[in-house]
Subunit: 373 residues, 2 copies
């Protein structure tokens, strides 16, 4: 069956085989290093795709909001880390979740701990978010005084349990080669290992947790840490190709977009496929141009490799502008469909809000408007 030929509007196509293969590879890698695999589900945000992980033996997950935790708890997940400094305003969700699941929360400052301690009425695992160099959030890894202070605050609380140290080495997104990624992986894990060593005599059960797709895709040895939390690898995207975390053959999603106009004078093709479908995330190519997605040709059973020299060069709310070569300009006609490999698949999936597999099944996605409680 060729479901692609009948598509009429921007559609997020999912290659289930590639996606399941990406999951299997990461499961295998975690198993070989004997670390807990706690994948970040913010990329796919889908009950169905979550079940593909479960089929591979995954039992613990990561999410990026308390509401998303509730969404996955609904589908039977019992061990959930919310990997963003805790939002203590969501008291009802925190306590509802803590009652139902093994809940892990993050803190990055003193006030969070004090606020959290005031509102909880069930036991909660608290991780200290550590900044190993990304400088988004977390306690600076060498701020011994503050780290000790926070550990003591957790210690004093009745319901909070000190779980360990967690980082997100988002600075891996600035890497452009496997060597750079591996170097960062080593630095990051050494920092956390060192922290654990410092505290493990007092807290023998504490763990250390790392997780970002570039390092988890490129490194093989995670034996210094206790768990890994990559997320994006489930689909990958062109940003990960640029970082050298994957190849374009690993990308499991593409947006099918209708062509609605052509402009010969500047070799531009206009598609329906804008910021509300793909997001405004871009990469900068070797020639210094903004690239909002790579062009592929759709085929009956998937899509081609990226077409050399052709990319989304501009994006407005609903329109996308493809910059193409002379040759490709003649091949694509108004009224046809083209495929766009997304720059940032997490954002694209969030915008389109559902998946269509190559066999025509629709797969669910989280809905930010709903309460899930």
């Amino acid at each position: 069956m060729n479901i692609i030929a009948d598509l009429c509007e921007p559609t997020l196509l999912l290659d289930e085989a590639r996606c399941r293969n990406n999951i299997k590879q990461m499961v295998k890698k975690a198993r070989q290093s004997k670390v807990l695999f706690r994948p970040h589900f913010k990329t796919h945000q889908s009950h169905e795709i979550g079940r593909w992980f479960r089929q591979e033996g995954v039992k613990a997950i990561t999410v990026s909001s308390l509401k998303m935790a509730s969404f996955f708890a609904e589908d039977g997940w019992k061990d959930i880390t919310v990997a963003i400094p805790v939002n203590t305003r969501e008291k009802h969700r925190i306590n509802d979740l803590a009652k139902k699941v093994n809940l892990h929360l993050l803190v990055a400052d003193i006030t969070s701990i004090l606020n959290l301690d005031k509102i909880v009425d069930h036991p909660i695992n608290v991780w200290i978010k550590i900044d190993t160099g990304y400088h988004r959030t977390g306690l600076l890894h060498d701020d011994d005084v503050m780290i000790k202070f926070i550990v003591n605050l957790i210690e004093k609380s009745k319901l909070l349990r000190f779980a360990g140290f967690l980082t997100h080495a988002g600075n891996s997104y600035y890497c452009r080669s496997n060597d750079e990624i591996l170097e960062l992986h080593i630095t990051t894990t050494e920092i956390l290992y060192h922290l654990k060593e410092k505290y493990k005599s007092l807290y023998p059960d504490i763990k250390i947790s790392v997780g970002d797709t570039p390092t988890c895709s490129v490194a093989d040895d995670f034996s210094l840490v206790d768990e890994i939390r990559p997320g994006n690898f489930v689909f990958y995207d062109t940003m990960q190709v640029q970082i050298s975390a994957c190849t374009s053959d690993d990308i499991a999603v593409v947006v099918a977009c209708p062509v609605v106009a052509k402009h010969k004078d500047r070799n531009e093709i206009i598609i329906i496929g804008g910021g509300i479908h793909l997001s405004k995330d871009f990469i900068v190519n070797d020639r210094g141009q903004k690239n909002y997605g790579d062009l592929v040709f759709l085929e009956s059973n998937g899509w081609s490799k990226p077409i050399e020299g052709c990319f989304l060069s501009k994006l407005s709310q609903e329109h996308g502008t493809l910059q193409v070569t002379d040759d490709v300009f003649e091949k694509i006609h108004t009224g046809e469909l083209v495929g766009i490999l997304p720059v940032h698949s997490c954002m694209t999936a969030n915008l389109i809000g559902k998946y269509t597999t190559l066999t025509g099944n629709t797969i669910d996605y989280f809905d930010i408007r709903k309460d899930y409680l």
Copy 2:
């Protein structure tokens, strides 16, 4: 009632009074110039807010997709322009709409006209999209041969009716003063007026249509054109302030965001409010810094003016990083809420997908996942 104090997650607050005032001002302006006001509903995408326009006498609207046209047709709108080159793959929606409403579609190349003519089974108004300098899409305004060719193709069709020339002067977004905007407004309308003059002996009923928030906000005289189609003015945003199309007092939406961490070493405050809430659209400030939104303080009945020197400087999927002054750093505490004036309100509304008024009412928003047919 202070509903703001109880909010626990990123929430799109709508100041109904400001929004209704923005609508009234534009209605008045169109009336004074005796032009048809055909507001672009892609900004608010809401049945309820659409009704606020209807209360002011608005009867014709603009949307950016056929699906959005179906959504508004459901709420009784009978005269709809889909202001993007027509996607002829959506044959079922085109014909369903053409049966129910006075449907206006755009074409920007020959193939579109040929494809459209093949699939329609009800009369449709066809506008030729003209490029007056923005170079996104449309026939170049001085390409006489091609324009004539397309007009003739429409003429030959049984069900297509030549409605006129339409442009979107998106280049107004590069303006930074009222004088620049007015100059562009004059150039744009003169180009279209000239085209109409050329064709009106053969087609006495053709119209010309312009519409973008900057020119429609700043100019007062639209008497050369037949209709205006601004959209963003319903809410405005900080991009429009930068363009000088409005002041921050006109902005009718703000995103309330919880504060989850503070980093004293760099005067940064971390909020839950990321690319999935605000979009990755940014403006560049006078100091060359990226600005993803301005900080305001939330008050019981709305919000403050933007706080000088404080803005969202970084954005990831769910986190936002506020760069603030020493003074403001001390005033804001983890666990509190702050307000962010969006850079691009159309994108922000699309992401959050519902509105909360200052009196606590929830207002609906279009859902891209649904079919609406």
